[in-house]
Symmetry: D3
Subunit: 134 residues, 6 copies
């Protein structure tokens, strides 16, 4: 099920085809996953979303690609996005995440969730020493 | 403000003192932040929480300490835990996170939040290829 | 699947029948969706929920019906309620939401999610000028 | 700070006065907390909100008053509502919640948050035996 | 679907078998639900998670077992954990939750969610009287 | 407090100055709110965030400006972003939102939150008729 009707032949639209081609080239794979097919119902939204994903996740930067995928998974778990947890766990594995690292990632996420709820239940004021501002 | 009244002299309780001593020894710092003072209202909760934080965050493992802090920040941001975002950003900086890495961490968190909401709005079914199960 | 067992013949209960009749009359449709069948396990909960939905969503007011549906979708996406995203996207379409408006709604939701996470990561104090209070 | 300007003399409006009087009578206290002063900017919203709070929280029912307050706190913590966590923790204490019960409530909330995140990370399919539906 | 591949013969690992045996003994049932099969991919994570669940949920304490399950459901609903809502609703029913109590639990959760969003929309400052701190 | 140290003289950096100038020109106001000062610690993040906000929120489109602000508020409330609720409520007022519309916006948000939690508690399967997909 989905809330939009993805175009039956998305690549008939040259703007969609250009994005799909770039996805395939960037990932060195023929596979274009469902999220992009769904976003193809609006080429502008597809273009801007892919451009940002490519710029942030597929461009060398100060954080290594696997760390970025693990941060992505962490946010997706907390936001309860089933699709994103699945797709980014697959991506993390493709970038070398081992079973041990996956288990540890879950351990950190679970601990953070636990103390997030404890701190929000306690409503503790933030220590002044944590202020990075002026 | 807080929802509990932290004990005025927490270390008068030997169980609390043992935890605070271990926090100071583990972090090589005299500073014990407010969350632990607040949790001291229940020594058992204090002990179990600190034991887990120490085991997960302060024990060498397959993920490096800074990566774990960044995952922790990501979950805390998504769960809107102000205290946790402050304390773990300070911890990440203490473990060497640069301004550039901090900016990039925020960029990844922001992108993940964006696509989490897009995927949850589209309600796209998960691609079969992402299933890691049997 | 569901966590309750919806009554097999909900309209055998006159309180349930009265609500279902009002749903059909209000919507000018014979269709009563699953949420109401599920809520029928407790007639009082069914009555109070429908009364509020009818009062807020199906009564002319200062916000037009489509705007209200789009706000409803926005909250449902952020709260990760799959059922609600589906049902209220269908309702918005029935009230005239075009594909272009749907794409733009998603764009605004996605941007809001992004800056929500940025602001929660930065923990910026609120500007005094935004205070509407005395 | 707040996003609305609460009326300076809310009880000059007889609809507001009637609600405030009922809050004081129901709680046997002269104190009307800030949330109601804020909601007084719209008497209809004030009336419907208080009517529901009174009906659900201040009417004898199958769940005892303290259990209802603890459930309320649990939801408020997960939704990161600082105001609600404060006000309902105060209410739970007024209804007899001991320090030990408070600590245990936090322990259950923290564990639930932890396994919520684990299950959402694992994306485990729901066991058929948990289905209460037909 | 799931993000990990659960071991085909989990109890071939003695650490997993010990946990599964303890789950069966504690619950007096032969059934071990999918979450534990999934966690078996990492015996240490399985052990620590079960130990905490057993200690918090299956040990007599100041809160009765059904109250703890209802608090667990409340957090799981707010965190949108489908698996947890299903499994803990089944657990609450096994511990005696009636249909009337279930309906009332949902009523309280729904009201809390409503006022959480109202208070977060109003951004009302917390009344000083709610501060339990020094 | 904040997690970063905003630059003391942000407009000494020409990239920051260009963004701040564009914010002032777009809003026809001399005021640049704290979020942008904070984001100025990383000019690239500042530039990309403002470019997106300007494109989505300050460019004529199929949704009117006030509707977009109300959707933005709805997401921000559900994500518990205090800063965003304040800044976008102020923006909505500047674009003409009346007290009556504000009250109604809160009423819709509160109702959506309520039914989101009900549907997530009931775990009702989505009606096939809501599927917009092929």
């Amino acid at each position: 099920m989905s809330t939009i009707n993805p175009p039956a032949h998305p690549e008939a639209d040259p703007r969609v085809k250009a994005v799909f081609d770039d996805i395939r080239a960037t990932r060195r794979s023929d596979f274009v996953n469902q999220l992009w097919h769904a976003l193809a119902f609006d080429p502008a939204l597809l273009e801007s979303t892919w451009a940002e994903v490519k710029r942030v996740m597929a461009t060398p930067s100060t954080l290594d690609p696997l760390t970025k995928e693990m941060v992505y998974i962490a946010v997706s778990v907390a936001n309860a996005c089933s699709y994103c947890v699945h797709s980014h766990t697959a991506a993390a594995r493709a970038k070398g995440m081992s079973d041990a690292q996956h288990a540890e990632l879950m351990t950190v996420i679970a601990l953070a969730a636990k103390t997030n709820h404890l701190a929000n239940a306690l409503q503790v004021p933030v220590d002044a020493v944590f202020d990075a501002g002026r």
